[in-house]
Amino acid sequence: MSELFYISAARLAGMLRRREVSATEVVESCIERQIAVNDKLNAVVSARHRRISPGRCTACR
């Protein structure tokens, strides 16, 4: 099983519908990935971390 942030949108949509994963888990996985690698890529220019997941994502605090 690959990382949540690597799963395709189509598969994620199915997993969300079947409640195998929550939207919060998916969003936090992507945000943590952003925080881990965007300094190297400089590809995200305005992040939405705090607006989306205030106080919930440990990596965002």
């Binding site: 949509a13 945000i31 965007n38 890529l41 400089n42 590809a43 220019v45 939405r48």
Partner: protein, 401 residues
């Protein structure tokens, strides 16, 4: 999802890479953003793009004066390429499930190629441009198109029906039904391919790129497609040249209007030089180029009626070094070889073109994506072939990050 920073996003800064919009917070979403949000997508951030998505620093990577350069996830010293390069790098590295980009001269297809993801430039005017920094209207109206960048082709198939169709603001947008790529049979498809569509100079295809095209042709043959090598390369080159002549015919007055509209004083320096060194052509010359462009477009379409799919490189080589030679082609009209010859000609054609990772550089590190083009409105054919190529090549791979 993330969204290319040239699209308006309600409540989120949307700079389009220009100083005049450094604090611009739109009141409404661009049409495509509103549509994917309504379908449940969550916006995780905005992705880097050159000023007005049209370049101007001359660096071979996605870059602007506000935020600097983006880096390729497969080699951080290399380019993400063109104007949706931030989007493609984000998707390749798993920072979001998908992004929505725009493609004027190649800006979905080239980033998809460089960053090893799947992208679709849809048929001209299938998807509304409303709310993009360069939207609709004018001589070059048919070039700016909107499409998704994803890790997997199945995601393009998921997103396209959501973003397609008129919004009754982009007056060119056509209500053409979406066809299911799952119904297309690869066996029996008539396929034309070229390893090099006439591109010269720095853009001529290297051996890795040619090998990748031949491999894809072989895979399609194995699946029962009828594969032929060859294309009217002279027409492709003429179309690409006419595209560039039209692009600069107004002496970049369009660019100056954009800067004025958004109150940008410090525009990208190379673009300023092009503006200063490019006198506008006469209206008679403009119309002549336009007619020559459309005549070549018609010839290419007539040829395509003999095929279902046309396969060629997206670019001559894998991702370039960021600190490489400047791309400086705009100042002197009619001089030198066109840049982005593989993609520009198909922008002018207006056909749907899917790109998917089909191979790699000889050392296996850098992705090589190819253009898989179909006749107008036949995204189903282009995407079915993209799915098949993905099944053989493996498509997107995890970057070493």
């Amino acid at each position: 999802m993330t969204i290319k920073d040239s699209f308006d996003t309600e409540g989120v800064i949307s700079t389009g890479g220009t100083f005049g919009r450094q604090q611009y917070v739109p009141q409404t979403d661009a049409t495509v953003v509103a549509r994917v949000r309504k379908a449940g997508a969550i916006l995780l951030g905005k992705t880097n793009t050159p000023e007005f998505t049209l370049g101007g620093l001359g660096l071979p990577t996605t870059s602007n004066l506000l935020f600097g350069s983006s880096h390729n996830p497969y080699d951080l010293a290399r380019s993400t390429f063109a104007s949706s390069g931030g989007a493609a790098a984000v998707v390749a590295a798993g920072l979001a499930a998908f992004d929505i980009g725009t493609d004027y001269s190649g800006s979905i297809r080239l980033p998809a190629h460089n960053n090893g993801v799947a992208g679709l430039r849809p048929t001209a005017v299938r998807v509304p441009r409303t709310g993009h920094i360069v939207d609709y209207g004018g001589v070059c109206d048919l070039w700016q198109q909107v499409g998704p960048l994803c890790r997997r082709v199945e995601d393009i198939e998921l997103i396209m029906p959501i973003i397609s169709g008129p919004d009754f603001r982009d007056a060119a947008c056509a209500p053409v039904p979406w066809r299911d790529p799952g119904l297309v049979r690869i066996a029996g498809l008539r396929v034309a391919f070229v390893t090099d569509n006439g591109a010269r100079g720095d853009e001529a295809a290297d051996e890795d790129t040619k090998r990748t095209v031949r491999q894809v042709a072989k895979w399609l043959e194995e699946a029962g497609s009828r594969v032929t090598e060859g294309a009217p390369t002279q027409t492709l080159v003429e179309l690409s040249q006419a595209n560039e002549e039209l692009n600069s015919a107004d002496g970049y007055a369009m660019w100056q209007r954009l800067a004025k509209k958004w109150g940008t004083n410090n525009i990208s320096p190379l673009r300023r030089r092009w503006i200063e060194s490019s006198p506008p052509r006469s209206s008679a010359e403009l119309v002549e180029i336009w007619e020559r462009h459309d005549a070549a477009k018609s010839r290419l379409l007539q040829w395509m009626m003999g095929y279902d799919v046309f396969i060629c490189p997206a670019y001559g080589k894998p991702a370039q070094l960021i600190d490489g030679p400047l791309v400086d082609s705009g100042g002197e009209q009619d001089q030198g070889d066109p840049v982005w010859q593989y993609t520009e000609s198909l922008s002018s054609a207006g056909w749907p073109v899917a790109v998917v990772r089909a191979g790699s550089s000889a050392d296996g590190r850098l992705p090589i994506g190819l253009q898989l083009a179909a006749a107008p409105w036949r995204e189903d054919v282009a995407l079915a072939v993209a799915r098949y190529v993905e099944s053989r090549s493996g498509g997107w791979r995890e970057p070493p990050l």
